[in-house]
Symmetry: C2
Subunit: 663 residues, 2 copies
């Protein structure tokens, strides 16, 4: 990158394109003050801002200083510009403490495409909209035009919109082969609606914004993950089959497992989220959040776990960073002052929907260690080989934290602290690579501390914004900021307002799951009224075949996971990572590459008999028919169990793929 400086302005140019520009008439920085109004209802936020002032910083002075360039904007912001061939750092110093709003414009043109901002569930290509960065519930429906969204808004303030995400982060990748990262956890907003610039708003003056470029997407992701940290590899046992989500106690859960095994379903784990006991609310069954084995509901669990582990089947549990009021664990945490408090130093309980919990204050090292030790003792030492590390998005903004920082700043940071707590517990127990935990919440830094994302709580339907299709979008988006290992609840999770999971949905989701790094089912929030595979013979037969396909891919998947660990190349990849010259790929968000050689186009529409697929220039073999295809758009028949999958003709794994094609 290169700076050009003239009397009344300057620009930074990279590969012949303007990245940054400042003149008196078109200033790059705006600063001001605002007063936010934040309401949280069960993890759904209503955020309003009253901007009192927004001032353009037009005048500037520029000087060389110790190898970098120091620019003073109107005596209000000092910006140190550290610039090299492939990188630019903008380091800001605010000269007026009253300022709490910051806007920066980066140059763009109409050809630029943008990806990332964490896990975006509705739009992979981000141009044309704006995106607030604020971790929250993702919304039920996520589209104001759908009935489910409307009902969820009216009844639970929970409908959400296209931008709601458990894991947003202030990092995006440009089709110009650079990534832009804002070093701040404050609320921010990325305005990608303009033609000639992007505008980033941050609710503080950020310490730094960095722009890092590379020669292509793959080396760029390598740099990005080198900076953010890379994900560990998955344990070997994960690839041995399906992780079955079951609930209801020892007898019920293990008998579902046995039933599956009988039908030839390959199983790697049994995941019982209610291993801690349960509580019934109007939403459905909820878990008892006291993070210890419920001996009553799960008698003989230690014996069972051991017994099945010997057969190669692991047992997984559940935890989240909140503790239910009235439990012994709550009492312990409360007495030790481990929970975040009100500003009057009083008890602060968060409403999670008909039950109330304390927030473990991770900014207090003693509280962090206490909770980490709970994970070590109650989960790892107890014998769990994995768990869902749920939530992390619910930090209210009106509580007082140990480290003295505002919850407005820590809110987006919370999921990362939560990931780190799990990571440290596993590492300190010497179990990294043996245990797998999976998270939905995230923020910048999650990459290093979380081995596996799950796509959150989809609705049990084919809706674009909140059903099966949204999983693909979320996977590709998060992959672009360094989260290369994703999976989802097969069949979706949220069933509300007469929206029930069908057999078709389950099977379409399962056949997609066979072409992802991890296969796992979930019974959903209302198990009784939704389709469950274990109640249907035919589905179990079909699922058995799909697990055979999945386990057949073990070596192939392991190689991809290793590549993700070593170079940050995600396991599920946007096509343009490998076909960068092809201009038809930029907005594709329902097909992906699995590793280098498989192209997967899941069936995401109800009742579909065919699926339109775009194949970039290569030699492609249709997995099920063996028919060869060249570049182009094709309408592929997709009978149940045969999503549109292709492999590269010259793949090292050709023999394996041929075999899978006959399954």
């Amino acid at each position: 990158m290169r700076i050009n400086h003239w009397t009344n302005g300057f620009e930074v140019v990279h590969n012949g394109k303007q990245v940054l520009c400042h003149t008196y008439d078109n200033p790059m920085l705006f600063i001001g003050t605002g007063q936010e109004d934040i309401e949280m209802y069960r993890g759904n936020f209503k955020i309003e801002d009253y901007v009192t002032e927004r001032m353009a910083l037009r005048t500037f002075t520029l000087k060389e200083d110790e190898g970098s360039i120091l620019i003073d904007f109107a005596g209000m912001i000092e910006m140190r510009l550290e610039i090299s061939e492939e990188e630019m750092k903008l380091k800001f110093k605010c000269l007026d403490d009253a300022l709490n709003r910051f806007w920066i414009r980066l140059s763009s043109d109409e050809e630029e495409h943008l990806y990332g901002l964490g896990e975006q569930m509705s739009h992979f290509s981000l141009r044309g909209k704006d995106y607030p960065i604020w971790t929250s519930e993702p919304g039920v429906g996520r589209n104001k035009n759908t009935y489910i969204t409307w009902r969820s808004d009216v009844e639970n303030k929970a409908g959400g919109d296209y931008y709601n995400s458990n894991y947003p982060e202030p990092t995006y990748v440009s089709s110009r082969h650079y990534f832009v990262h804002v070093h701040s956890t404050a609320y921010s907003k990325f305005n990608f609606k303009q033609k000639t610039f992007h505008e980033i708003e941050v609710w503080e003056v950020p310490e730094e914004i960095s722009i890092v470029s590379a020669d292509g997407y793959l080396p760029l992701l390598e740099k990005l993950t080198a900076e953010f940290g890379r994900q560990p590899e998955l344990p070997d046992w994960v690839y041995n089959g399906l992780i079955i989500g079951a609930q209801g106690g020892t007898e019920r859960s293990f008998s579902i497992l046995e039933q599956a095994l009988e039908k030839g379903i390959k199983v790697s784990g049994l995941w019982c989220q209610d291993w801690v006991g349960k509580k019934v609310t109007s939403f459905g069954k909820r878990l008892r959040w006291n993070w210890v084995w419920d001996e009553e509901m799960y008698p003989d669990l230690p014996k069972k776990m051991k017994e099945y582990k010997e057969k190669g089947i692991r047992f997984l549990g559940y935890i989240n960073p909140y503790i239910l009021e009235g439990t012994a664990l709550y009492q312990e945490g409360f007495e030790n002052g481990y929970f975040a408090k009100t500003f009057e130093d009083q008890e602060y309980l968060v409403d999670f929907g008909e039950f109330y919990c304390g927030v473990v204050d991770f900014t207090n090292p003693d509280a962090f260690n206490w909770f980490k030790d709970i994970i070590k003792k109650n989960l790892i030492n107890f014998g769990l080989d994995g768990w869902m590390a749920d939530f992390g998005e619910y930090l209210p903004t009106d509580l007082k934290l140990y480290n003295g920082k505002s919850a407005m700043i820590e809110h987006n940071h919370w999921p990362v602290l939560w990931a780190k707590c799990n990571y440290d517990a596993v590492v300190e127990s010497g179990k990294l690579g043996e245990i797998v935990y999976f998270m939905r919440a995230g923020g910048n830094g999650t990459q290093k501390y979380c081995p596996l994302l799950w796509a959150g709580d989809q609705s049990v339907d084919f809706s674009i914004d909140d059903g099966l299709a949204s999983v693909i979008c979320g996977t590709l988006s998060s992959a672009m900021v360094g989260n290369g290992i994703n999976h989802s609840d097969i069949g979706g999770y949220t069933s509300l307002f007469d929206n029930f999971r069908t057999k078709e949905l389950f099977l379409r989701w399962a056949e997609m799951g066979a072409f992802t790094p991890v296969m796992r089912t979930h019974e959903g929030n209302r198990p009784e009224t939704n389709f469950q595979f274990y109640n249907d013979e035919d589905t179990m037969v079909q699922l058995a075949r799909l697990t055979t396909i999945y386990t057949s891919l073990k070596d192939y998947l392991k190689e991809a996971v290793k590549e993700n660990h070593e170079k940050g190349t995600p396991v599920q990849r946007p096509l343009f990572l490998h076909y960068d010259e092809d201009n038809n790929l930029q907005k594709l968000q329902t097909q992906y590459l699995l590793g280098r050689d498989l192209l997967v186009a899941p069936v995401y529409l109800e009742g579909a008999e065919t699926r339109d697929v775009y194949l970039p220039e290569d030699e492609w073999i249709h997995l099920w028919s063996g028919k060869e295809y060249a570049q182009g758009v094709y309408t592929i028949e997709v009978p149940m169990g045969q999503p549109a999958v292709f492999y590269r003709k010259n793949s090292f794994y050709k023999g394996l793929f041929e075999k899978i094609g006959t399954l």
Copy 2:
């Protein structure tokens, strides 16, 4: 009012309360630039603003200048302050042409209440929300929590919200007994959400903002209407009975009329909106907008009109300021260049829902006179004694106007030009006080040019934001800015998505109508599938009684209408106009005084058997039982036909009221 001036600031105080204040730290003015994004779909607007800059104007110089005070704000805005005991004018001069956004803060405290802003249908007391001023369709449902609103949004972008109004205007009345008026027709927004100030945003630097005070509400409304112009009195014939809305041609309409007369319903007029012919669309029956008698559909109309006029029953029609493409009138207007055009001087047609129309360019005096002459010739000379002067809100913002002004500026002005066109036609025909036309759209200036508002197109239901109740709120709001004569479609108008008018709704609406200045029915947008009084014997009997009540009030109503004409005291009044010391009245929006002596609390809830009423300190007699009540809250039984109505014991009209009570 009085100005206090000190080194780094000044304030204006009135009756011991701060009205205006400016200091370096708390500036009163902000200016800046913004880029609006406006989408119109059939009169529904999606308005977004991207504010590039919003600068506080902190520094100032102040000097006396020719009897007024001249204040220069930061060299960017010059404000001339003309101040007297009861009035203050702020006259602005913008010193930088690039500025197109303006914000001013007026001081407030938590006790202040605010009313007006034109016709507000959801909130009479305006504190706590913000209100854009932009005339538009009012919305179907008008509350994002209702199913009808959601469906309307999804299918027609038409659901609306609490602030949508056919007639918003930038004028409000404070409980401090002053009114604030912004002399601008630009888009503006009144932010009443703050505790210590109000903020008014205007999308231009307004010429003037005036604040006028008086000793109480009544003298204040007298001043307000003196400034804006007062409404003419209604023709005497209006009070003689119901105006029946009927459609379908001479035979059908007049036979409905005859049927009503037979049942003893007192009728003052027959209103046939389809006198110009009709056109069927998916919304329902729409009219042929070519503004001439349809001889085919209404054979013998001139003869019939004459015949019934002799019996004391007038005939009313319909017109609006758009002309349907393909008609002879369109051709004439187009050839003469009377329609607004695109910026490329091409034909511009507006989509009114499956048919397309030209916009008569009222800023062109020739076009204005042409259309005025159409009203004179085709309506007045033809023999109509009244009409609905519909619409006025649909001026798109991307067309070119004759006077060279931006449609962004003329949009809110359009309903006033439309009202003036009707007014001039009637006045020039010497028919003022004989003819009545009624409008839903309005803006500042409407007061003088429109003798009668109607509350627009309510949904045919009891919903608070868009049903019967909203009529009362709209009436009281518009009354506070000088529109003292209101009425509504008895039974409501809009029937969509299986929302149908019931007999109960019709009768509750009719019994309210008996206690308003004008009674008029409408068949609604889908006459066939909704309840119509003429299909139900019992309803006709009940309606006959209600028209007897209404006509009995003739002298009383005429006196109130005269008072409105002479002093701007509205016919339907918020209670605090006469009971200003009572602090319980500020938020009442479902009861009103009709004239000085009647207190009316209409039944606005479905299935209601009682109605809660608040009576201010006075001696009240319940109209139907004769029972006496003192100040207090009472639960009153409200059998059908007996809304909660009270009269003052010492009223001059006591005898009349006693008689009505026996009807």
